[in-house]
């Protein structure tokens, strides 16, 4: 009954069918003490990208959903309450960051492991595994050991291993990390269709942890931004990219993000200001311009890309801002790592959004 190729569909009572996917999906309200607190509510078949800086709690959230990290709260997936279930009972597929293949088993045996553990007879388990390897384009590598696979091939085997068990929830931890750019692009393209198929067939919810905005934009229909153990923004990928409220996402999409307190005394959540690096003006001394937004800071990095010099500045109040200048002005300003500099930006170039309460 774990065979996704089985056209009779789910024979087990717990398996969701396409008819009830709209009512199912993922509803989580989980807290890993000291690590992360998150509420997620997404429809069946959704692909959720979880982004955020290192230490934001992404992996803890993933572990809490899988059941491998102790968490408080509730978790419902595909109409089932998973809160008190053990990991094997949850029907969650996990693809760890480095694929996590069992080194002593061949690719085929890795994929057949899930069905075998659930009691599927050996021959059928191997047939299913071979089928899934072929679907992910690695059917010819069935007899190889993980050590003989490239990074991209190993990820494909790991994805096949997770999908063969027909999970209600698929968790991908940095699925493209460490892969060659072209390999990542190819895998990303294929993953789109596999995730879409799983979503259509079974209403599988996919949750992928990533630090690459391209992943979020191409794979996900919902982006969840985690920062310091909290969800700071949720929305459709394009909406989040257009109006980031966190420095991390801003940096991901190439925008500067600054928080401006509402009250004059510096209290309150206030507004989030976003502006592109090209709108930032550099000056060796405090600018006499009318610009209200100005900071003093220290240059932390200078990168030349094409006709643009991108300067990373750490301001005196601790923020990191990007500025794009021409090579000529960079030379004129004697910009180099460690030099003191002033930044300013015109109010007209800034997008202001009120912070969510």
């Amino acid at each position: 009954m774990t065979a996704p190729t089985d056209d009779t569909g789910g024979t087990g009572g717990s398996t969701s069918t396409s008819a009830d996917t709209s009512a199912a999906g993922l509803a989580a309200d989980l807290t890993v003490p000291g690590r992360v607190t998150a509420r997620l509510d997404v429809a069946a078949g959704s692909v959720v990208a979880v982004v955020g800086p290192n230490g934001a709690g992404k992996s803890s959230l993933l572990g809490a959903l899988a059941g491998t990290v102790p968490a408080d709260g509730t978790l419902r997936v595909a109409g089932r309450d998973l809160t008190r279930l053990t990991v094997p009972e949850r029907r969650v597929g996990l693809v760890p960051q480095d694929a996590g293949l069992f080194g002593h088993l061949s690719a085929l045996e890795n994929v057949a492991f899930g069905p075998r553990a659930r009691g599927v007879p050996r021959r059928r388990a191997r047939a299913e595994a071979a089928d899934w390897l072929a679907r992910l384009g690695v059917g010819h590598l069935a007899d190889r050991r993980p050590a003989q696979l490239s990074g991209g091939q190993a990820r494909r085997v790991a994805v096949a291993r997770a999908l063969v068990t027909a999970p209600d929830l698929l968790l991908l931890d940095e699925p493209f990390a460490g892969l060659d750019v072209t390999v990542a692009a190819a895998l990303r393209g294929e993953l789109v269709s596999h995730l879409a198929r799983a979503a259509a067939e079974r209403g599988t919810v996919t949750l992928l942890v990533t630090h690459d905005p391209v992943d979020a934009l191409t794979l996900a229909d919902t982006v969840v931004v985690l920062e310091a153990g909290r969800v700071v923004q949720t929305g459709e990928p394009h909406a989040v990219a257009a109006a980031p409220t966190s420095e991390h996402v801003g940096r991901l999409v190439g925008l500067n993000v600054v928080h401006r307190p509402s009250a004059a005394d510096g209290t309150g959540e206030g507004e989030v200001l976003t502006f592109p690096p090209s709108a930032v003006v550099l000056d060796p001394e405090e600018p006499r311009s009318s610009a209200r937004l100005r900071w003093r800071g220290t240059v932390r990095g200078v990168t030349r890309t094409g006709g643009v010099v991108r300067v990373l500045v750490e301001t005196t109040d601790g923020a990191s801002l990007l500025a794009d200048v021409t090579p000529t002005s960079a030379e004129r300003l004697l910009v180099s790592a460690g030099s003191e500099i002033w930044l300013s930006v015109k109010e007209t170039a800034v997008t202001a959004a009120t912070m969510r309460p």
């Binding site: 990991v87 949850r90 996990l94 760890p96 492991f113 899930g114 075998r116 553990a117 659930r118 999970p167």
Partner: protein, 270 residues
């Protein structure tokens, strides 16, 4: 053959101690072989006591390894995977036999499993079984001394195998027992082999705890090391001849295992 990677000359600060260390180990072994009474070797080893002691040593050391496999592997798993108060203390206690003088180990064993011991007395009253002066007692002493080597080795291997594999196996529907058998055990195999070899070697050379707890009688409790010690009291050349036999057995087994099984020992275990 491809050319070796040229990272530079091995530093003298490492080479000199390495040579000293090798000499410290090799010279006594060479001296033992060189000073052995080769001309009279045959007659010295022709006694039935030697054959009995050798058979007993090989037999008890193999049973010890089996006992370590059956008892030590689960213990190593518990120490590596279960989180419970007191396990840190248990781990420390399990390693104590490593530092315990073997004679003290023998006294401790007698206090526990001796005729009037904590466990030994009720055991004798209920079943009539006594361990001292029996081959079973020899095995108990050997397991006591060998188990720490085995458990430490296997626990390290299980930890190296990583909890991520446990997590992945669980998401795939594997029970802990299934994951242990199909994932952890195979992945920890190099550590299990290494631990078994260490336990076997410790058992083969074990002397103090055995003679203190199980005694010394030809055929039942007199192992090769006991026989060598006894011989040393009478005729050092006899002792050397016997020691050579033990040395030959160990070298033969270790060399025989090396190519197939001990590579992980040298490679750091993957």
């Amino acid at each position: 053959m491809t050319a070796p990677v040229r990272l530079g000359r091995p530093p003298v600060v490492l080479l000199v101690p390495a040579v000293l260390a090798s000499a410290l180990v090799v010279v006594p072994l060479v001296a033992l072989v060189a000073s052995a009474p080769w001309s009279t070797m045959g007659e010295r080893l022709a006694s039935s006591a030697v054959a009995q002691a050798l058979a007993l040593s090989i037999g008890t050391s193999l049973v010890t390894v089996v006992a370590c496999l059956l008892l030590g592997t689960p213990l190593a798993w518990v120490l590596a995977r279960v989180q419970a108060p007191g396990l840190a203390v248990l781990r420390a206690l399990v390693t104590v036999p490593l530092v315990l003088p073997p004679v003290v180990a023998g006294v401790a064993l007698a206090s526990a499993f001796g005729r009037t011991g904590l466990v030994g007395e009720p055991l004798r009253e209920l079943t009539g079984i006594t361990l001292p002066y029996t081959t079973a007692g020899v095995v108990v002493a050997h397991v006591f001394c060998s188990l720490p080597f085995y458990v430490l080795s296997v626990e390290a291997a299980l930890r190296a195998a990583g909890e991520q594999h446990d997590a992945v196996a669980a998401t795939l529907g594997a029970s802990r027992w299934y994951a242990f058998r199909r994932v952890l055990l195979p992945l920890a195999l190099p550590g299990i082999v290494a631990g078994s070899v260490l336990a076997w070697a410790r058992s083969l050379g074990e002397f103090g705890a055995t003679i203190t707890f199980a005694g010394n009688f030809p055929g039942t409790t007199q192992t090769m090391p006991s026989l060598i010690y006894v011989a040393l009291q009478a005729d050092a050349d006899d002792a050397k001849a016997l020691a050579l036999v033990l040395l030959a057995v160990s070298v033969a087994v270790l060399a025989g295992l090396r190519h197939r099984w001990l590579d992980p020992l040298r490679g750091g275990g993957r």
